[in-house]
């Protein structure tokens, strides 16, 4: 049976989660993928690019939204762009590993309680999950119409100039179904699948 978890999530709730646990997520989360991660990282973490006044405003809003919450690796299809009456039509996860260079530091910087994505992430993220603490929630890739049903409201959007898929959408989700595949104790389900498949590959090709 899946456990229901409300966002913002406490450290205790995170520590109670283990690889393999099914979870239904409830509350406010934020989407972010390639452009958003690089933007955050360059301007506010590594500070290699001077943020504009507008950037600082978005940052301030995110500083309020992100602690205790989650970033969802998702580039949705959204209706209502002309009327600003936004609705998520199609919203499955995108491949997470592309954010590996940024994710660990973004998790700890904003005190995120986790990531929702697909395919899992690497060592740096896992390390940050142990320290912060946080977890990696796996959603079913491609199950876009199904997951869109869990998105009850779109509360706002930042950086729409990145384009619909890359913008930072603030959404309220209800019973969003996910599985923990990286926990705050250093366990990664993806690592296990990778190692098992590596052993089998060796047998098949050598």
């Amino acid at each position: 049976m899946p456990v229901s978890i409300s966002i913002p999530i406490s450290n205790e709730s995170i520590r109670a989660l283990h690889v393999g646990d099914s979870v239904l997520l409830n509350g406010i989360i934020v989407t972010g993928r390639d452009a958003a991660h690089k933007w955050l990282f360059d301007r506010f973490i590594k500070k290699t690019v001077e943020p504009s006044l507008k950037d600082k405003e978005v940052y301030k809003a995110l500083k309020d939204l992100l602690p205790g919450s989650l970033i969802y690796h998702c580039g949705p299809v959204v209706s209502g762009l002309d009327t600003e009456d936004y609705k998520f039509v199609s919203a499955g996860p995108t491949t997470s590993i592309r954010q590996e260079s940024y994710q660990g530091e973004i998790i700890s910087y904003f005190n995120l309680k986790g990531i929702i994505g697909k395919g899992g992430m690497g060592e740096k993220t896992l390390k940050s999950c142990i320290q912060t603490p946080a977890v990696y929630f796996h959603a079913v890739g491609g199950a876009a119409a199904l997951i869109a049903k869990s998105v009850k409201r779109v509360l706002g959007v930042y950086k729409l100039e990145f384009g619909m898929p890359e913008a930072i959408w603030v959404i309220q989700v209800e019973d969003f179904p996910v599985v923990v595949t990286m926990d705050s104790f250093g366990k990664s389900f993806h690592e296990k699948v990778l190692e098992n498949s590596r052993l089998m590959l060796d047998r098949l090709i050598n």
């Binding site: 199609s90 199950a143 119409a145 100039e161 993806h190 699948v193 590596r198 590959l201």
Partner: protein
């Protein structure tokens, strides 16, 4: 020539929102093969449920509606210039109707064009003039996740101990599946082109996705290799979405191309479970979708 734009628009809607019957059947049988109560079976159930919802509500199966790749076979009476303009306007309209996500990003400025139109290569349109009166347009929507895990090898590959023979092809194909893990949205399908130059090789590796999943290469030796690669890929137990399980690859298709004496590329395209392809055939006033 009748206005084909509404028909192409329907082709796009159909492809984005409804999986072809052979793909859905294959996914269903994959779900049945997974262990009862396993994560793999749950994932397959969600996938199939999603496929049904998308069809019923006419929304895209996956939010990444991918690169639209059109394969056009046209009688000499058609103008390719006109066909290009019809296809491009249908793509823009399909984006407005949200059958397609705005997916065309200018690589130099980072700006999304907003309507899925880029320069000549976006959307991708391949033309082939044919005899007869029938215009056939196949559409593949290939998402970024599975496109990113495609790989091109050059045989011999000393790292994998893969030589310039079919055994070498088998080895690199299994390596590609291993490297992909769950990132390409397994369970997936492999299109493998042996030979060609780098460009034609990748192109052919995608073109094989247009064939029905039940078909195999006419040469029994190559057909056997297709089946072997699928079978062995599943031994890797990467499983649906890379979360472990019995179904990793659900089908393999191989095509051979002539190559230079110096080169032997093996290009492997990975198609995710959301294997979106449909065809429209037009003869005079008669329009048919499948």
């Amino acid at each position: 020539m009748q206005d084909l734009t509404p028909h192409i628009l329907e082709l796009i809607r159909l492809t984005s929102t409804s999986l072809p019957a052979d793909v859905e059947r294959t996914l269903l049988s994959a779900q049945e093969k997974e262990e009862d109560g396993s994560v793999a079976q749950n994932v397959m159930q969600s996938i199939l449920e999603n496929v049904t919802i998308a069809r019923e509500t006419s929304t895209s199966i996956c939010q990444d509606t991918g690169t639209p790749i059109f394969f056009v076979r046209y009688p000499g009476s058609y103008s390719t210039k006109k066909l290009i303009s019809i296809i491009r306007s249908a793509v823009a309209e399909a984006t407005e109707k949200l059958y397609l996500r705005p997916n065309a990003v200018n690589s130099l400025t980072g700006k999304n064009s907003g309507n899925n139109l880029g320069e000549n290569y976006f959307p991708v349109i391949h033309f082939q003039e044919i005899e007869g009166e029938r215009l056939t347009i196949d559409l593949l929507l290939k998402g970024g996740g599975c496109e990113n895990v495609g790989r091109q090898y050059s045989l011999p590959d000393s790292h994998l101990n893969a030589f310039r023979d079919l055994e070498g092809v088998r080895k690199v194909a299994l390596d590609a599946v291993f490297q992909a893990q769950g990132q390409g949205c397994a369970p997936g399908f492999l299109g493998i082109a042996i030979g060609g130059d780098r460009g034609t090789s990748y192109l052919a590796s995608k073109e094989v996705f247009l064939e029905d999943l039940s078909s195999h290469h006419p040469d029994p030796i190559i057909a056997a290799l297709e089946k072997l690669i699928t079978k062995e890929a599943n031994k890797l137990q990467i499983g649906p979405m890379g979360l472990g399980g019995r179904s990793t690859i659900l089908g393999t298709k191989i095509i051979g191309l002539h190559r230079l004496p110096a080169s032997c590329f093996v290009s492997i395209s990975y198609m995710c479970w959301a294997f979106r392809r449909h065809r429209i055939s037009i003869t005079g006033e008669k329009v048919e979708f499948n």
